[in-house]
């Protein structure tokens, strides 16, 4: 589930490259629907018409939903394409969309979708089981060209079969319980036959979907969409029926965050993406709305590289976990829009359990654990064992504006417990290499994903195991959850896996990534979807 995301990449930094992909981090593959948004119903009667202009941080590079899965691509393509199912951003529950119902077999290897009747693409062709099958055939035929973030979702897919005009069955070679969530993502949305008929390389600016908006023009810096008349199959979680209120949507690219904020405040755009934590208060003070949602998935935190001494000692890891004061990090570096981590997963992830009591700040106990492990205080305050200082290297990548400040504070907190944390800023490429060669003790990361399977992609000890995870008792839990079709049983396994990760300190969680948009007061109904991406704008209107 590594959703690629290009969040606060400084525009000029050369090799920001990988980490965007690397950490899949924060952008998010948003889908679905309206969660914490701008009071859709609170603003009186919805008004028809108007153009909504949204400033994005980075350009959407293709309207092919399977080519890119970064923030910009997801925000734009979500308006053009519908998915088989929808995911409720508040509960994580799977809801009907293009499929009115579905069945999953007990081993999670077979998914049968019953399509909604009367759906058409914007060129007039009807949605049929054959079209859905053709979409998945096309995905399998172009596996090498798919965005790598999408590949895991279809890795084990063996094929699709249309059993009648409205029913299609997908079969997997091995259990794949996370598929429903993946099917709700933009990457697996359904394209029109006319788009599938184009060679892959041509599906950049002339794509056809069944969504609430139709692509008008696609240029790197500006993308225009117009309303699809007759649209009547909005995602369930939007609580909106019928066509969009807006006539047009225009996405512009504004890389500089201060220029985005200034453009919003001077009325040159109606909404902006990627508001840095440091700007949230000034946006609020300027009388604009702030729309935020915690990203589901792996929270921001430190991954210990467990193959390295001394982090191979679980007690040392546990001590470090106790020495981090999470609320202090949130209060000093971020805003109240960000939640303190209470598990390894964010609280909006399906299958999350609250383990906050195990993640309390307790420097006294941390000291006892370190003393017991043989790391004792010396003259300069840094602990030593066998003449070796307790110096640990944490590699990090500048993919979020808060990273550096958060890590500097954590460094100061650990120093109080006699641990010398060295911060090492790396480029994306250096990180890939450094992880392979086990150069670091810690790696600062997060990963946005609307499914608990992110635990497996992060902590599986199967190759390539970049984090050198050693925790063997954890592995069966990670495998079983993917093979469990029943959501309740699966959540139980995910809960056990989270307990195990926290108890063994296989991850030192700190705070939850939060996606923050801002909008002018006249924008109503703007919201973020289940993957923390922009929800379909069908229900958005301007007063």
């Amino acid at each position: 589930m590594n959703t690629r995301a290009h969040r606060s990449r400084t525009a000029l930094a050369a090799a920001t490259v990988t980490a965007a992909l690397l950490l899949a981090a924060c952008g998010g593959s948003g889908d679905g629907a309206s969660g914490g948004g701008t009071g859709a119903k609170g603003g009186g009667k919805a008004r028809q018409g108007g153009t909504l202009t949204i400033a994005l941080q980075s350009p959407a590079q293709s309207a092919n939903p399977r080519a890119f899965t970064d923030t910009a691509a997801v925000y734009v393509n979500r308006q053009i394409f519908d998915s088989l199912v929808d995911q409720d951003p508040a509960t994580g529950k799977i809801l009907p969309w293009l499929a009115k119902s579905w069945e999953v077999n007990a081993t999670a290897t077979q998914f049968t979708f019953h399509l909604r009747a009367g759906v058409t693409f914007s060129d007039g062709t009807p949605l049929t089981a054959q079209v859905v099958k053709a979409n998945f055939d096309d995905i399998l035929a172009n596996k090498a060209k798919l965005n790598p973030g999408i590949v895991p979702a279809v890795q084990a897919l063996t094929g699709a079969k249309a059993t009648d005009a409205q029913t299609v069955t997908l079969t997997f070679a091995k259990p794949h319980a996370s598929f429903l969530v993946e099917a709700a993502r933009v990457g697996l949305s359904i394209e029109a036959p006319a788009t599938l008929a184009l060679p892959w390389d041509k599906r950049v600016d002339k794509v056809i979907g069944s969504g609430p908006f139709v692509l008008d023009s696609f240029a790197p810096g500006q993308i225009s969409l117009h309303k699809r008349t007759g649209y009547a199959w909005a995602a369930d979680s939007l609580h909106h029926t019928g066509a969009a209120y807006l006539d047009k949507v225009v996405f512009k690219v504004v890389p500089e965050s201060s220029v985005r904020t200034g453009s919003l405040q001077s009325g040159q755009v109606n909404a902006i993406s990627d508001v840095p934590a440091a700007d949230i208060q000034s946006v609020r003070d300027g009388g604009q709305q702030v729309i935020s949602t915690p990203n589901p998935g792996l929270v921001w935190g430190l991954v210990p590289i467990e193959s390295r001494n001394p982090l191979n000692d679980a007690n040392v890891r546990k001590a470090l976990n106790l020495a981090i004061n999470r609320p202090e990090v949130r209060d000093a570096v971020l805003t109240k829009d960000f939640a303190v981590a209470t598990s390894v997963l964010a609280h909006t992830t399906p299958g999350y359990v609250d383990l906050g009591s195990s993640l309390a700040y307790d420097p006294a106990q941390a000291g006892q654990l370190l003393d017991a492990a043989g790391w004792t205080r010396t003259g300069d305050g840094v602990r030593q064992k066998d003449g070796k200082k307790l110096t640990l290297v944490a590699a990090w990548f500048r993919d979020s504006s808060s990273n550096q400040k958060a890590l500097e504070l954590i460094k100061a907190q650990l120093a109080k417990s006699g641990v010398d944390l060295q911060l090492l800023e790396q480029t994306g490429l250096q990180i890939l290499d450094g992880l392979k060669k086990e150069k670091y003790d810690f790696f600062w990361t997060n990963a946005t994903s609307a499914d608990g399977d992110v635990l497996r992609s992060s902590f599986s000890s199967a190759p390539p195991n970049y984090y050198r995870v050693q925790d063997q008792p954890l592995q069966p839990l990670l495998e079983q959850q993917l093979a469990t079709g029943d959501p309740a049983a699966r959540n139980k396994l995910l809960a056990q896996a989270q307990q195990r990760v926290v108890a063994q300190a296989d991850y030192l969680p700190v705070f939850e990534q939060t996606t923050v948009l801002a909008a002018a007061g006249k924008v109503h109904g703007l919201s973020l979807g289940a993957g923390a991406g922009l929800a379909p704008l069908a229900g958005v209107w301007l007063s």
């Binding site: 965007a20 001077s266 040159q268 992060s458």
Partner: protein, 314 residues
């Protein structure tokens, strides 16, 4: 007589040099980009990737990255000679198409910035040399160093704050309309004007101390005419050489300006391509930069003999 036979040879020699520069830029950028320990496929896949080695190999093969370096180099050079810059690794579009799309807006602000910068720089240099009051001259003299030392990033944000966010005179973002070009043009023109004013001012001073200036004055030519016709024409050569270099600087300046003003163009294309390790696009841009640089310098060289006929005779 010499000038007639000398000119074609001079031309040929300079064109040959320009082509060599472009080839060298291609080769060096190829060597740097392709021998770096970077793997665009691994970059695309990321560390949590569940792609099998076979699938990664298939992606590499699909992109032609599995061939020996020399084969890749020769094949690219061959394509280049046919005008084919290859395909973007990320969007799979033709690089020449991507560059063709991005070129006009960058060319527009670069040309406008260069023109405005040259005009203002020349005017400032002339004004400084014409002004008689010591304090006024001191004031004008202090402007170029100031213009050279303020970073254009900061100038751009400052202009936006005042002229767009505060006074709503010009749009802050985008490429639409002439209004959107004003602030980027000023931002790009400022350092050009400063450098030109500094350089021209100095050589103008030197030219005006020459005997021919005194002769002109003695003949009763007006002060302005002495400065423009006799001073400026002789002082302009070093400034022209500088223009060749400034154009190169402006191409890199467009990265900053296009970021600050959210404009489409080569700068944005370059930023995106570099951040995604889209090597063919990066290489296409390097090549374009080298070609523009070589062409402008060639043009400057060819203009020398027009302004100063002594150059060809040498």
């Amino acid at each position: 007589m010499n000038g007639v036979s000398g000119m074609p040879r001079y031309l040929l020699w300079r064109v040959g040099q320009a082509l060599f520069v472009v080839w060298a830029a291609f080769t060096i950028s190829f060597a740097v980009l392709y021998t770096l320990p970077s793997d665009p496929v691994a970059v695309m896949a990321g560390p949590n990737s569940e792609l099998t080695p076979a699938e990664l190999a298939a992606m590499r093969h699909d992109l032609g990255l599995d061939r020996p370096v020399l084969t890749q180099y020769l094949s690219q050079l061959g394509h280049l000679l046919r005008g084919d810059l290859g395909q973007s690794i990320q969007s799979r579009e033709q690089v020449s198409h991507l560059i063709g799309q991005a070129l006009p807006p960058t060319a527009a602000i670069t040309a406008a910035g260069l023109g405005a910068g040259l005009l203002c720089g020349t005017a400032l240099a002339l004004a400084t040399s014409l002004v008689r009051q010591r304090w006024a001259r001191g004031l004008l003299d202090s402007l170029p160093p100031l213009g050279v030392s303020v970073p254009s990033y900061w100038v751009g944000l400052l202009l936006l704050q005042q002229f767009s966010f505060h006074w709503h005179l010009f749009p802050a973002i985008g490429n639409e309309g002439a209004g959107s070009m004003v602030l980027p043009t000023i931002t790009l023109a400022l350092p050009v004007a400063a450098v030109i004013a500094q350089l021209l001012g100095r050589s103008l001073d030197a030219a005006l101390r020459e005997g021919y200036a005194d002769t002109a004055r003695a003949k009763g030519v007006s002060r302005l005419a002495v400065h423009v016709r006799h001073g400026l024409r002789n002082a302009v050569l070093p400034a022209m050489t500088m223009v060749g270099l400034l154009v190169g600087g402006m191409l890199s300046g467009s990265v900053v300006v296009e970021t600050v003003f959210s404009r489409d163009g080569l700068g944005r294309l370059a930023t995106t391509a570099v951040s995604q390790q889209d090597l063919p696009v990066v290489q296409g841009l390097v090549l374009l930069g080298a070609a523009v640089f070589a062409a402008v310098n060639l043009l400057v060289d060819l203009l020398y003999p027009v302004i100063d006929p002594r150059i060809v005779r040498q």
